[in-house]
Symmetry: C2
Subunit: 292 residues, 2 copies
């Protein structure tokens, strides 16, 4: 049986209250499904990192105000009386795309989230790689322009400061020409990357330049990760999946091939994530059953 419920996180500033609401949601969903907690095997949580993996705690993600060192895993396990597994969202998504999506069949795979921020999930040698302390793979913070743009993380020149959705959105609000197609598509709402993608699809010059800039900086990050991991496949999430082959993947593949050794570029697969709307539930599933 598959049932789903989606809700924006809307953190209250008080993790205890947020967790109580999560538990209420979970219980309501179970009632709706006519299932008791005892009939479940496990719960999988995909949460924004960084995490303290040993303690199953959310350490303090920028987008969850008030969540500092919150033992989410144990709080939910206690509330539901079930084993709960916790994984950071980029890793969970990487597992899902690896098992069910664009990454199927690749033992060495790098997945990049490409949404508000840039997160990475590393499947190396057929296993999720998280490093000793669970903090490996912060590829959104690879320095791609030394002393470059300020990143939300406090460092400068991070990949995320160039191709992260939040950073790009800030830039677009500052530089989108008033009468442009991008501005027209945004209408009364604030300009977002999705408007640029749509306008570029129509051939709008400003939008095309923005997409080219995005691709150029993305290739810098991908070049670094190819020399580092020599992966079989790179799977790119949200923004790239939305922009698709013509606007993004084709030019990125071409530029990347010129930037890495033929030995490393030959046979390298670069593709968009496939799971789309199904990602959250499949990510949770992969976290709940890590060995399945």
């Amino acid at each position: 049986m598959r049932m789903r419920r989606r809700r924006p996180t809307e953190p209250s500033g008080e993790p205890g209250r947020d967790i109580a609401r999560l538990l209420d949601d979970a219980r309501a969903l179970l009632r709706e499904a006519g299932v008791t907690p005892a009939e479940l095997s496990a719960v999988g949580i995909s949460a924004p990192g960084p995490l303290d993996r040993a303690r199953g705690a959310v350490v303090g993600p920028p987008n969850l105000p008030g969540w500092r060192d919150v033992p989410l895993r144990d709080a939910l396990a206690e509330g539901l009386g079930l084993p709960v597994h916790l994984e950071n969202d980029a890793n969970a998504a990487a597992l899902a795309e690896w098992r069910f999506g664009a990454g199927r069949g690749f033992d060495d795979l790098v997945y990049l989230t490409m949404s508000t921020g840039i997160g990475a999930g590393l499947v190396l040698g057929g296993e999720l790689y998280t490093g000793s302390f669970g903090n490996a793979g912060e590829l959104g913070h690879l320095p791609i322009e030394w002393d470059g743009e300020l990143c939300a993380c406090g460092q400068r020149g991070c990949l995320e400061a160039y191709v992260g959705g939040a950073a790009w959105t800030r830039r677009l609000r500052a530089c989108t020409p008033a009468g442009s197609r991008v501005a027209a598509l945004a209408g009364d709402s604030a300009v977002k990357p999705e408007h640029v993608v749509a306008a570029a699809g129509e051939g709008d010059p400003f939008a095309c330049e923005e997409i080219e800039r995005f691709n150029r900086y993305l290739v810098r990050g991908l070049t670094a990760l190819v020399f580092t991991f020599a992966p079989q496949a790179i799977v790119l999430g949200t923004i790239v999946a939305a922009a698709g082959e013509g606007l993004c993947l084709d030019p990125v593949r071409t530029d990347l091939a010129a930037r890495v050794w033929p030995l490393l570029g030959r046979g390298l697969v670069v593709r968009a994530a496939e799971l789309g709307e199904r990602l959250p539930e499949l990510a949770g599933l992969c976290v709940a059953f890590p060995e399945a």
Copy 2:
């Protein structure tokens, strides 16, 4: 029993002849030691990459002219009648420093060779990590300055093009002031990084600037690898080991700590390789007995 024989590689341009000479050397060493091949368990070879690991072949290292796709492992195994294991030199050195040197006790360790070129050996989760095709960890070719200095590999802006010994030597020959302390130390021979290290140790301003430049670019590469691997330790070879704490390691640690998240920098150990002259034989030993 431990016996050693060192010889410069001096490739003849004909791999078959080079291998015959390797075999002659090995047999001579055995005779000298009064040991027959049958009394040996295994042979370990540390060779410059890239390698084709599956076939035990040397693919075509820039410093071994004429060696293209040479099945070194099988040629030596046949010549000696013994099992031969082949590993690239950076990985072999990483294993040796991990088991016997500066990397002891760390399960997640990045070792950088820092000599003519920059090679990396990755010990991740207590195992050597080489990627599916054995080509992961080419950290000498991380782009640290996009479209920057031309690297021997053909790409631009690689870490190796800034802090590799060969690249640095080329630069020094072009920019060392004629009457400087560095030039005096080099005397009639060509200027090398070791002269800069020596002159910087005496406080020579040109040499100190060169070391600062070296450190600055090295930190760029280390920053990328910390965000990528979140290692417990980074062990730095030849040039850094020669420059030591005051000239190199202290400033690099300070600069690196400012460039990475406290979460990743806290507890990170950055130190010089320890094995020095003992490295080649211990590297070979680690390759011969990978599970020991």
